[in-house]
């Protein structure tokens, strides 16, 4: 072993009980981190890659959220002038003779589309699971790095390329794609269908195809690492729930994103080669196009076969992070660990057989709809199991109400509210009224948008010290939580009523609908709430960035008193994670409040006669 001298008590423990993989024998000097570029840019260290995903995700979150503020302004205050936005948006703000500026309708649609695409794929997929799978899988499993650090690096850079292409599309003179984040044909298949359907859609397709590559490279690596590179003693049943969640998420991605890719290839053929997969007889400006016999419904099947698992790709990592944070800060083992794992597996499986609940109103045969209704409602069962276990974990706990914990509790609240409205929508008869209204918007923003963001925030506050060696400011953190929690409900709660009254989503203006006139005030209220919540998120970003240099320093390795392996590495964790041996695991991840001790970490061997916590 040679040159490693253990001084810290944890290092001494690992040297005594750990497992020698001769890491340093192969490691003459530091091969990876020789230059700035090798260290920070084209890094193969999973911890750096995690931060790259996080920073890029935050960048996109700001853009995506800012877009929503712009279209909410138009929706809530159609008479007010938006001329002040002209310096940023240029020709997309149309100023009339009285100097009143309004958002161009085409650009309203482009903003709605980009908002959805960016938040769903770039922020809540790449920014969430990219960040935390990368950070935690090797660290919590006791691995030196991912199975293939190189493919891992590529995964980030494909995401980066996808980002660059999408960002560029924002500045096209015809605007970015504007046919909705689901990109249904014909708007997505006919370049001449709308202004965003031309170059904007082409770049959208290129960007998302690159994104699929990124997800696949990442996912393949995560699954391989989980199955192959767990340290000694780390059986599957001893893995923290975070890892279970990332693992199943990656499997969902590997199985569903290729299906989306096949839909994309067919779209490309329709756009460029004149095939008619998704297009049937169409007239544009009185001219018949020569497409025959295609079916736009076919695209919907392909899209939602990805699309529904995708929403779980977003929420499962948030669930994993929440479980971990709740347990650590309640100082209690997670309630029903095995039930939690089986629920994750059940949700993962069921998510593949419910996709047509997005298509109840697309003319799907009602008998087939029944099948999808039943399975959709069954998903509520494992979801309810998880909610029950989270609440029971809190019950009687020695709760620390810090920012991470608050967001984890907030996650549970949001998931309940949004899950309940899902049960309404899952009934195909009720969906006749609700489909494509603000009720759906409220449902998925609460259950997916806000909940997943809360899971992500919980993760960021909790693992910030691991990533940056410092803490974020707690006071601002708590303000961030309460502001966002109240603000998010203020935005989305009213939308349920608007939706039940039948107000359709994605409309630029309701001026001509007298029936909806009395919602004007509610729309103003929603817009104002959205602006407040946006401002609070900026506060979070400032806290996040400034704490990198100014935050309270982390002085001990394991500030939260957690049991998992990531807190056993040195504060300044190098590539390879442990300086000497790899820790060996002797127990499950949730020994809190056991045998009179506050916690027992996973590397501590079982005492004589000790009953395992997960017996």
């Amino acid at each position: 072993m040679g040159h490693f001298k253990a001084t810290h008590e944890m290092d001494v423990m690992i040297e005594e009980t750990g497992f020698d993989d001769h890491f340093h024998d192969h490691h003459h000097g530091d091969k990876y981190q020789s230059s700035f570029i090798g260290h920070y840019i084209f890094s193969m260290d999973h911890k750096i890659i995690a931060r790259q995903f996080l920073f890029t995700g935050i960048f996109w979150a700001i853009i995506g959220a800012a877009m929503s503020i712009v279209f909410r302004l138009q929706l809530g205050f159609p008479e007010e002038s938006l001329a002040w936005l002209k310096p940023v948006l240029g020709k997309w703000i149309v100023v009339n003779s009285e100097g009143i500026g309004t958002l161009a309708p085409e650009f309203y649609y482009a903003l709605v589309t980009m908002h959805g695409t960016i938040i769903v794929f770039f922020v809540l997929t790449a920014g969430l699971s990219g960040t935390f799978s990368n950070l935690l899988i090797p660290l919590q499993l006791g691995a030196r790095d991912m199975a293939s650090p190189f493919l891992n690096m590529l995964s980030y850079w494909f995401f980066f390329l996808a980002s660059v292409v999408m960002f560029y599309s924002l500045f096209l003179s015809t605007g970015p794609f504007s046919g909705g984040w689901t990109a249904y044909p014909p708007l997505s298949a006919l370049p001449q269908a709308s202004s965003g359907s031309g170059a904007g859609m082409t770049l959208w397709l290129v960007s998302l195809t690159l994104f699929v590559v990124s997800v696949l490279l990442g996912g393949i690596n995560y699954v391989t690492t989980v199955l192959n590179l767990r340290t000694k003693g780390m059986t599957m049943w001893r893995m923290p729930l975070t890892i279970w969640a990332f693992f199943v998420t990656a499997i969902l991605g590997i199985l569903s994103f290729p299906v989306l890719a096949s839909g994309f290839f067919m779209l490309m053929c329709d756009r460029g080669l004149g095939t008619s997969f998704f297009l049937s007889e169409i007239f544009i400006e009185g001219q018949a196009l020569d497409y025959i016999g295609g079916s736009p419904i076919l695209y919907q099947h392909l899209f939602w076969f990805l699309g529904h698992p995708e929403v779980y790709i977003i929420i499962l990592p948030a669930m994993g992070l929440t479980s971990e944070v709740l347990s650590v800060h309640a100082r209690k083992p997670i309630f029903g660990y095995k039930a939690m794992v089986y629920s994750i597996l059940a949700i993962g499986f069921l998510s593949f057989i419910v996709w047509a609940h997005h298509m109840f109103m697309s003319g799907v045969n009602p008998f087939i709809s029944n099948f999808f209704v039943v399975f959709t409602l069954i998903i509520a069962v494992p979801s309810a199991v998880k909610v029950f276990n989270w609440i029971t974990t809190l019950y009687g706990g020695n709760i620390r109400l810090n920012s991470a914990m608050l967001f984890a509790i907030g996650f549970v609240s949001m998931f309940i509210s949004g899950g309940l409205t899902g049960i309404f929508l899952g009934n195909s008869a009720i969906d006749i009224q609700m489909h494509d209204t603000y009720f759906v918007v409220a449902h998925f923003h609460i259950v997916m948008g806000i909940a997943a963001f809360f899971g992500m925030f919980a993760g960021i506050y909790h693992w910030y010290p691991k990533m940056f060696g410092r803490f974020m400011n707690e006071t601002i953190g708590k303000l961030h939580f309460w502001g966002t929690m109240i603000g998010a409900y203020a935005i989305f709660w009213p939308m349920h009523y608007i939706g039940m009254a039948g107000v359709p989503r994605r409309y630029y203006s309701f001026e001509t609908f007298d029936a909806f006139a009395h919602f004007d005030d509610m729309n103003k209220f929603i817009t104002i709430s959205a602006i407040v919540v946006f401002a609070i998120q900026i506060m979070f970003v400032i806290n996040f960035v400034s704490s990198i240099w100014k935050g309270k320093k982390m002085t001990t390795r394991n500030p939260w008193g957690a049991t998992t392996l990531e807190w056993t590495t040195p504060i300044e964790t190098g590539h390879g994670n442990w300086d000497g041996k790899i820790p060996v695991v002797h127990r499950w991840a949730y020994d809190y409040g056991k045998d009179g001790k506050d916690f027992i970490d996973q590397v501590t061997p079982m005492a004589e006669g000790e009953v395992p916590g997960d017996h």
Binding site: N221, A261, F265, M266, T275, S276, F277, G293, F305
Partner: protein, 192 residues
């Protein structure tokens, strides 16, 4: 090198890279499953033009199967020390692989002469699309074969774990794209 130590606590007997390759095969399979399901859905919704597959596709299925067999023999020979069979098997596999691409191209030409083009009925468009995306995966396999041949003829013959693993990965992928074609071909034949 670092990869040695990174993977030295590997739990299963399968090399992680090989395992990752299997996962990516699963992912590729899902894409083709999507194509073929879309094919069936489209077919059942009417306006579907039937046609006979050009003969060359039958022959070509034989070609790619032979290529797979050649590579299999080559891999066996590599492990058991029969250097000559190892090298010639590789070359035969590569030549047959390239022949497959050429014949696929001729198959597309034959289709085109039968009057089946991309702009016509979706049945033809599906055939072009599926076989083309498959051919793209064959090109990936051919790149791996070229690399394997370079290794075979420039490195001194020696069976190491690393080379064995590398060869087996090439073999598995090649078998995979081969079987994939057999599946697609049978599918196209019987889904009429």
């Amino acid at each position: 090198m670092s990869t040695v130590s990174l993977n030295s606590n590997n739990r299963s007997r399968v090399h992680p890279q090989k395992f990752a390759l299997w996962l990516s095969m699963g992912s590729i399979l899902m894409m083709f499953a999507a194509f073929t399901s879309a094919y069936l859905i489209k077919q059942s919704s009417g306006t579907w033009v039937e046609f006979v597959l050009p003969q060359i596709f039958y022959i070509n299925t034989g070609v790619i199967v032979c290529s797979s067999i050649a590579l299999h023999i080559s891999c066996r020979a590599f492990i058991s020390g029969k250097e000559l069979i190892y090298k010639s098997g590789l070359v035969v596999a590569l030549i047959l692989g390239i022949a497959f691409l050429v014949f696929q191209y001729q198959g597309w030409n034959a289709l085109f002469e039968m009057g089946i083009d991309l702009k016509g009925n979706a049945s033809g468009a599906f055939l072009y699309l599926i076989s083309f995306v498959h051919a793209a995966h064959i090109i990936g396999g051919i790149a791996a074969l070229v690399l394997a041949i370079l290794h075979a003829f420039t490195l001194k013959y020696k069976v190491t774990d690393k080379r064995k693993n590398r060869f087996e990965m090439t073999l598995h992928y090649w078998h995979f794209v081969d079987l994939l074609w057999v599946y697609l071909f049978v599918f196209l034949l019987f889904s009429k």
